[in-house]
Amino acid sequence: MIPELGHFALILALSLALCQGILPLLGAHRNDQAMLDVAKPAAVGQFVFVAFAFGCLTWSFIQSDFSVLYVASHSQLALPLPYKISAVWGAHEGSLLLWVLLLAGWTVMVAFYSGSLPKAFGARVIGVLGLLSCGFLLFTLLTSNPFERLIPAPPDGADLNPLLQDPGLAIHPPILYTGYVGFSVAFAFAIAAMISGNLDQKWARWTRPWTTSAWLFLTIGIALGSWWAYYELGWGGWWFWDPVENASFMPWLAGTALIHSLAVTEKRGLFKSWTLLLAITAFSLSLLGTFLVRSGILVSVHAFAVDPARGLFILAFLAVVIGGALILYAWRAPGLDSDAGFKACSRETFLLLNNVLLVIATALILGGTLSPLIVEMIDGSKISVGPPYFEIAFAIPMLPLVYLIGVGMHTAWRSQEPGPLFNQLKIPAIIAVVAGLLVPFFFYGRVGVLLVTGMIAGFWIIAVSLIQPIRSLRRKAGTTAITRSALGMSVAHFGVGLFVIGVTVVSGFSVEADRSLRVGETESVAGYDFELRGLRNVDGPNFRALEGEVDIYRDGEFISQLRPQKRTYLVQQSPMTEAGIDANWNRDLFVALGDPLGNDAWSVRMQYKPMIRFIWLGAFVMALGGLIATRDRRYRLTATETEKASTLSGELA
């Protein structure tokens, strides 16, 4: 009964999404107030029904209702309750439902916080979001219904993939998806601007906080994914450049470019059509990412043949959304650009460079990710592209970018005299060079070209990010403090600096050793002695495990005891490596059990990962910067000003 209610609620949500998608757009075109008024209630109604459907599916999981096919395939009686809930988005059908729910959630947020928008414009934004929702609901109902029954019901389910039974991966998809879906708001703003033919600086001011919010969720989502891969996949890497990761990283890069280009559009009214194109690109890459990963087409073209209905729907949907947006763009965007000028040395130039470099990075990653597909279609040979390609292709545009950040953020709009800029940046530059040379030499005893380039870049960004906040702290009474926008920028760039240092040190000084160890034996890695003390059997709620006891000493002093596990999940009988990690702010020690080698020996992987925490810390600091920037006063000011204006006009009428 509950699943049928959920299914029915989805159908109702679809009909409301149709109303939400068609009537407000038509109303804005015909200037029909009644039709415009449909937007908000339709959006709220749609959200309520999707949320109800989502609740029904969650309930089926909690109740272990194995007469629902999706539940039977991805849950099990002994699965701990939190994982029964996170199993809802553990596979295709449920994660699609989560997409729809988040899309409806963002739409409701827009509907409630769009008081400052002109009514017709707000209605258009909600209308475009409604149309997107129609597409996703149709896809869910026609090809991926999560409520499909399985009669007769099996006595127990097939269990959730053990890899997903982890707190990190329970929260990673919702946050990542919140980011993905959030770019739909920027997309809808772009489409609405093109339909109305009206794109001014106010438009950019409305769009910015939404885009930054989506971006910060995506940042956290990607960082969580990387962290999860590090400790759960068992082998200590933090980024593998596999298609799934690239699919989330490309919208992030395009979104980062969009945030910066929106700044120019807001402050100077420039780069308008470019901003629109980036908004379309960021969302298109989100769509591409979701679908390509879910359909499995990136692994092989033949994945399409597995489920042609889904494949065809995906292609058609992508063609309509991306193609439609680009046609609208070709038609309307050329009339939008203004021709205000700027000098070669100005913030505009640096933000333009930022955009060019980020787009190049996106394109190179897209090329690498899709090339196996393209090559297979051309001559049928099967290739794969290894991580070193992505590392080089990414570093080429990113190295200049990290150096330019420091200059760009202290350059004035319109025109900047090089002299004062140079004076301002002299001291941070000296600090960066000295720290970049000394830190690797003294702490790690080795220097190299790439290492020093990376270290200087990291310290450089950190140093320049502190200029504005420090100046604000030391200002005279009565002068204005740093704005939240500027503080957010400084914090986010500070995060980039932490990230760059983390990446440089991890890639330069990590030590990794696969060894054969017997109980009682000791192996030394990077100055740490790893002693395998013993092995014992332990039982979890739905797995059995062999647990190793590894004591770590440094110069005879006890550091920590780690307990890496080799688990076997009972239902799927699949083995899983649970690494033992001793985390510290400046290094991780990592131990994973491999296989029994006979004669009581085990293969053991031991790793020393210096500064790896800075990678995720940097990402979280970037997201924090985004959060601070969205709290800037002027975004609220526009809202209250317009409210006042509308009450006034109300009184007059």
């Binding site: 082998w235 033949h302 794969s384 390609y389 080429i396 054969s516």
Partner: protein, 154 residues
Amino acid sequence: MKPRRQRMLAVGLTVAGIALATALTLQAFKENMMFFVEISEIEKGNYPEDRNFRVGGLVVEGSVRREIGELELSFDLTDYENQLTVNYSGVLPDLFREGQGIIAHGRLGDNGIFMADEVLAKHDENYMPPEVAESLAGHAAAQEAVLNSEQQGQ
């Protein structure tokens, strides 16, 4: 410097930078592109000689051999028709086991043994790497045809 010459210099530097970046990227792509080679093709000698490539197949039951207590091991891969011996040293992925479809990265040694520097098994019980699945399907069909014709011959 006159503004005109300044501009020319800027354009020149940009073009040179882009050319260099493109060259480096293409080089990186060429070096890191790995072909998937079927086991039957290796037997015919159709494989890249001085670079890494990928092979895939089923791990033959009972073929995993290692010296007791050592990390080095070897095993045989099959596509149902042909076999290839693979050497590897290191920790194996969780889902590596006999009978499982796997992919190995590495190169072919002079002795006809594949020296793997990476072994991949996907984290899903039902999942077979698509290249392997396809290669297996082809050879299974061929094998069946041979069996059928033998039966008809008798």
